[in-house]
Subunit: 334 residues, 2 copies
Amino acid sequence: MDVTIKDIAQRAHVSVSTVSRVLNNKADVHEETKRRVQEIIEELGYSPNSIARGLVLQRTHTIGLLIPDITNPFFPEVARGVENRAKELGYSLIFCDSGNDMQSEKDAIALFRSKQVDGIILSLSLASQAELFRLQSEQFPVVQIDRGIPELRIPTVAVDNVLSAATATGYLIQLGHRRIAHITGDLGTKTGRDRLQGYRKALASAGIEPEESWIVEGAYDIESGAAGATRLLFGPRRPTAIFAANDLIAMGVYQVALDGGLRIPDDLSVVGHDDIQIAGIVRPGLTTMSQPKYKLGQVGVELLIKEIDSGESTAEEIVLLTELVTRGSAAPAG
Amino acid sequence: MDVTIKDIAQRAHVSVSTVSRVLNNKADVHEETKRRVQEIIEELGYSPNSIARGLVLQRTHTIGLLIPDITNPFFPEVARGVENRAKELGYSLIFCDSGNDMQSEKDAIALFRSKQVDGIILSLSLASQAELFRLQSEQFPVVQIDRGIPELRIPTVAVDNVLSAATATGYLIQLGHRRIAHITGDLGTKTGRDRLQGYRKALASAGIEPEESWIVEGAYDIESGAAGATRLLFGPRRPTAIFAANDLIAMGVYQVALDGGLRIPDDLSVVGHDDIQIAGIVRPGLTTMSQPKYKLGQVGVELLIKEIDSGESTAEEIVLLTELVTRGSAAPAG
DNA sequence: GTGAAAGCGCTAACAT
DNA sequence: ATGTTAGCGCTTTCAC
């Protein structure tokens, strides 16, 4: 077995409490004793059992992180923000990827509960509202990140997706486009709905009546972007511009458009959302709304730990800003 | 506080041991009692405290996952393979991203130790050999993934990077290229060194003597790819082809080459490694060596859990295959 | 078929 | 300044 605090105590001819005091830097322990204990700790390569500590302290210094899809390049950056800041603040992470599956979301929360995490950072589909409600009524520290469920007043860190989508769409309008399509994200998420709403809003305030065929439901991935583009681009009266709910969808549009012999931006303008790494690599560069991904994670952790430490939910909602990054994928309407 | 096994016992008028039996589906508990206990568990929304369970069982059903850089799209896919398979087998994950930093690698291992994980899956730089050695001598279940440190005989799941790089380079040779450069990965990693070796090997067996200026040290990211390309492409007698140690580096090459007015593949052939999502999106599509990323993670978990269950290190080394995926970025030498 | 009690490794009163 | 002890929530002998 591992070496325990007891072994250290024996070898150092002191009691376990003294060892514990040394371990936790408590006052009132003789310098000489302290030195001796530390030596033995070093010598035996002792590592405190945080499971045992967690049991007595009722505090594990672990937080649960639940993310919808780690293979969407948006999330690794968020995750990194979470991980780095958490580490700085003395917390570690139990990680779950729900794969956008509702049952997995439920399972993950159950897991976090059983693992006695001190708090949870999550990004849920709207369908999991009940789970969130339960956590709230238990006063379980939770922070929503990126995707909020607004019905409950639970601390949330996200951008204003309505505004952001309206800005993106407005940019296309400003370029003179009238026939602007939208491939949505997963409409089972708040972000998906908000971006759709922002799109509609921008059109409305420009006096443009969107044809229903311009709106195609997608799912935040390349495949759905390609499928959407296929429907949009090869019918009669095709749109001159597409606002894609995220950059992955925009990449699907690129594939289909370019393979179909359409030139971007000459024949088709495209604007995405998120500003993932690929956006700057493809040609033409993708014009998109940049999200502060790393910061989203960072701030999420800070908010959560504040909540954990204070023992009360702040119901704070932190709104970060997006920014239009213009590259080459959108041009004035011909 | 949370509801405990004791609360259940009281309400059900049985002892805690009976509740424990029900919880763990042990035999010898009356059907009627079992039903009653389960009802109360349901009613009170009881969730077993796996911290406490872990303490007595000396088994946490948690594994530590240490990854070098989650923002490199290669790793999220691996991580997903790990996560999914682990979940299937009843394990959860403590996640750390070392950011390729040696101190972080060390810290992460210390964390895993303290959190009493049942085993560790990791991808280390060669410099952390000592840490790995210590784990080995403690008989701590460990599996290396992607990047092995070969000196110790520790179970490893990875591709044959020498062979893979030789195949990539050989493909360029076969296309008639002679002046083939290589932008390496981080040479502090086994994969980086192996791919360099494979590159050299392929050249050697074709009787090509590489000029030292053809080999530029990079670091698995876009920036180093761009920096490498800048050095390679604008001197005299520039290479006609570049083998990039991974796709991110290749993307850096794309940027610099295209911005510099070079056409791919007409003026410059490029081959990458890993086959991340971007490879199929950029134009021209990137020809690259495809790695079984998801499977790498999956198999890694299986190997680890086998080790945990059997209590002995198999020193097994599992070699998965890569595959050349030809897209449009490499063409016959002019 | 069920209960009492010990103990996993640790911290925190409470003594001394 | 240091030791003794109870107890965190659970599993598991060992009795009955």
